[in-house]
Amino acid sequence: MKEISLHILDIAENSVNAGASEITIEVIENIKNDTLLINITDNGKGMSEETVAVISDPFVTTRTTRRVGLGIPFFKAAAEACDGSLSIKSELGKGTSVSIEFNHSHIDRMPMGDIEDTLTNLFIGYPNVDWLFKYNANGDSFLINGKEIKEILDDVPLSDPSVINFIRNQINDGIGKIRITE
């Protein structure tokens, strides 16, 4: 995967598979501190301490369709390649929080890529999840609250053509205006 935003999509999928009904994705760019932070927090089923301890091993997975799990190890390696880190906090029955820190100006930091697309896909592709997206770049912030939007839409589905258009524009305009990463 060549974009941070593809890794974000991948980690968010884990939250969905953990049965989360609320998932928050937060991106914070700060040029002064030279950091790019990403937090993905869910209220899914969580993991035991033992599982968290071994989750970065590619040969550990809970899936039944194949025997390797590459998502977390991939993202961890990408962060560590540019003096960053990936950490996981989790509690059984409560949820999981994955935090990734990148050195913003590091030459080996992969580009953010199409984060707008990642968020739009998640928002529409998992209508049963209440998504909360927060983007902050040098103090300018954007927020989109899925629960609020779904309450207004009521019985109109998220994959209605005019709703897709609305969501996409909200996310593209909101993040496009403030993002710093390429």
């Binding site: 739009t120 592709g125 209508p127 109109v156």
Partner: protein
Amino acid sequence: MNAIKSLEDLKKIREQALEKRKATAVSGSTQVIVGMGTCGIAAGARETMKAVLDFIENNNIENVVVTQTGCIGICEQEPILQIVVGESEKTTYGKASPTVVEKIMQSHVVNGKVYGENEIQI
């Protein structure tokens, strides 16, 4: 655009969508499912999903529900797209790149014919 104004816009969008639904009285809904496991994402599933949404938006297609799912165990065929029309059985498509997606959507969702070239048996 400020948040309150955009929520007002959303209310209008909802009303218009409901009006349209009443007018067309569509029968049976169609489900489009895009595989979005690590394998799918690495093979370009995000662009596949985008192509599905683009198609619906550009062709103003009502009554389609688009969802994502995890790895279904045939990673070598990713990106994978599945379509269920009404009560009929699920059709699975492999190697569904954005250009293929357009053909599948046109053939299966619009014209009701399975697009044989990329259909796979699972």
